[in-house]
Symmetry: C2
Subunit: 414 residues, 2 copies
């Protein structure tokens, strides 16, 4: 396969059906932002919606906005909007709390639905908070155990013993970008009698997700990566229709009550997805998310996926051609179909190399101990941005500018 | 006691040592806002801080702002700031999640600290989410029970049997405004060998709170009422120094880990207050809160309390003098020392009366089934606002304008 030159790459941009969407985002012309898988870029609409909520509603109607501006129903309104991006029919998704808190809710729900079983299976390569929360759930349930793929068994498929109640899987691995086959693994989990819980943090908004079609039981995900909701914007939780009214979760706060404003003394959970709510949500952050979600109107998820794979394929091809011999090793699946919307390379000095890239306007991120991670967000990235990123990476490696002493000290927050 | 006339009331404003603080707030000149105990009013500083976070940081530095703008440390920075308002030395308060979620964390912690005991005591008159969450905690602990003051015993003091592990008390009752004696009740709870957990939702920022001095074990509170953080701004949680490193809570997400960015497989909780964090926080909402807290610099909590009591005393005096015979009955303690910063009156048609008040620019709220609730926020209310509110209430009751059919239908969200 011949290496495309600049002209060929510019043609790819000219033919990109999603190219007009870039204008919706607030982007620096001097930078290539390959970290939308960590914090998405704001749209103009997100900023405007936030201003409206802060100035006109909070600063105007004040308390009345809970009714007049629809604040109280935002979690289900935005949940249904996200539902259209992850293959969930209305009434099964709610925006609430954090991914970690939502993992707690759904793992407890799953354990409750399988009373004779006491094991949660998860991945040792999971984003750690999923494991930490699973530990927390296990700590509250006498006899419960957490078993990890890659530690207690080679693969999840090998670990589906009759004592397994729930399996918690990351749809896309946060570090390598490896994509799991959701439909096939969910079917295997169900054959074994267990509940399938999927973490969509690195797939929602990055590629087509079909929760209903795959028969998934529960899912969680974040909204500040590919959904561009803003720093720490509230997470979402999905519960399949068949579990609503059945599933119980112990974070039984007033927003999950069947009649929250009746101020009753005893808890009676809502019969629908609202039961997965707990307390009052951060409305300003939620409204930025509402504005951010508008960009998805009319986006074809098939076109999104095709562009995502093409951007990442181009990146891999150019890096391997132009940066050979400098110690980079691909950590992500080479095959686009097995990959999310990110590409990782291992390097012995990954921290320093990434700092050198960032100082030159190519923004990716570092994951300990030695991963350079690059996210490809099809809504706002161009093929020429990929070329620019590789040119800078080549320059950093060839000039050894990453050895600059100012890149030596690793920050606490990465 | 003679009824003060308008001139006397204007003199009270002229002599108010806090009067200049009103300029920090964005208030409508046509309204009297007596609902700061439900949703506080924005300050100019809060709006500016929010803009800075949204435009310059999210929209500028993007992912780098986690370090450069101090996003990651906001929860402890703001926690310590709130600590100065509630009598907590640094390192014991963190801003995180919602009040409901924080109640869950601290009740689990309390139960874990008293392994031979299995009862949680709470108040039947508590804000309901506290009870719902206590039910949730009890549901995950075999043999645990929830007992309610006013149902299972007349008062908390009578219920402190040797099986009680934790007592959850509201410092100020959300409906009546009744203020509990924190130091005395905490001492009684400790004598009985139990853990004292205080809900400060209606006292933080409303009156002096002395958690350390009272020997409180854990506390929670919200930031969108008297702290003016904005709709649904994140809540706070307090854990006394002596419990840090000892207390365990099962919402063990990555922000509570001793080394969150090491991405370790196993959970090891932070040794300090960060252990009460769970997942990634809503930074935009948190930054509005940061801006809001600036107004407290230099505020004397004694002056705040004196004004709060004086405002409410004036309200009660004027209402009882001018609105006698229209079916209002005081639901709050008459004695200022036993009251928070709010006054409630019972009325058979409380919903309609409140709607009529709101339509005339006097904003209070309704609590089912028959409570008119008025909050008095000393930072921005004037004595003439109290007079205006009573004049309008008198007019609504005398003219029976609350019988207008448009006030007949009660909204779902109140």
């Amino acid at each position: 396969m011949t290496l495309p030159d600049r002209a060929a790459i510019e043609t790819m941009d000219a033919q990109d059906p999603l190219r007009a969407l870039r204008d919706a985002f607030i982007l620096s012309p001097d930078e290539v932002y390959l970290d939308g898988n960590s914090l998405g870029v704001p749209t103009h609409a997100a900023q405007e919606e936030l201003m409206r909520a802060a100035r006109d509603e909070w600063g105007g109607e004040l308390i009345r906005s809970w009714n007049t501006a629809g604040w109280f129903d935002l979690p289900v309104e935005l949940g249904d909007r996200i539902g259209t991006l992850i293959g969930a029919a209305p009434g099964q998704v709610v925006v609430a709390d954090t991914t970690s808190v939502n993992v707690y809710k759904v793992l407890h729900s799953a354990m409750g639905l399988r009373p004779g079983r006491n094991v949660i299976v998860a991945e040792s390569g999971s984003f750690p908070t999923d494991l930490y929360i699973a530990e927390g759930v296990v700590s509250t349930l006498p006899g419960a155990q957490l078993r990890l793929e890659g530690v207690d068994g080679p693969t999840i498929e090998d670990m589906l013993t009759p004592d397994v109640a729930a399996v918690l899987v990351n749809h896309v691995n946060y570090k390598t970008g490896e994509l799991r086959d959701m439909a096939a693994l969910t079917a295997r989990i169900h054959e074994a009698g267990a509940i399938a819980v999927w973490d969509l943090c690195h797939s929602a908004g990055a590629l087509p997700v079909e929760l209903d079609a795959a028969g998934v039981d529960f899912a969680v995900g974040c909204t500040y990566k590919y959904l561009n909701g803003g720093p720490g914007s509230p997470a979402f939780v999905y519960a399949a229709h068949r579990h609503l009214g059945q599933a119980r979760q112990p974070l039984s706060g007033w927003w999950g009550h069947a009649r929250p404003f009746a101020f009753e003394t005893g808890y009676e959970g809502d019969g629908g997805i609202r039961r997965f709510q707990c307390g009052t949500q951060p409305i300003l952050s939620m409204r930025a998310l509402k504005g951010a979600l508008a960009v998805w109107d009319g986006v074809d998820m098939g076109e999104l996926r095709a562009k995502s794979v093409a951007l990442a394929d181009l990146f891999i091809q150019l890096v391997e051609a132009r940066c050979a011999g400098f110690g980079l090793a691909l950590e992500s699946p080479r095959e686009g179909a097995r990959r999310g919307s990110q590409v990782s390379f291992r390097h012995d000095h990954a921290w320093q190399v990434m700092q050198a890239l960032i100082s030159r306007g190519v923004i990716g991120d570092f994951r300990a101990p030695s991963t350079l991670r690059f996210g490809f967000t099809p809504l706002y990235l161009r093929y020429v941005d990929v070329l620019r990123a590789v040119e800078v990476l080549e320059e950093v490696l060839k000039s050894e500018s990453w050895k600059d002493p100012r890149f030596a000290v690793q920050a606490a927050v990465t």
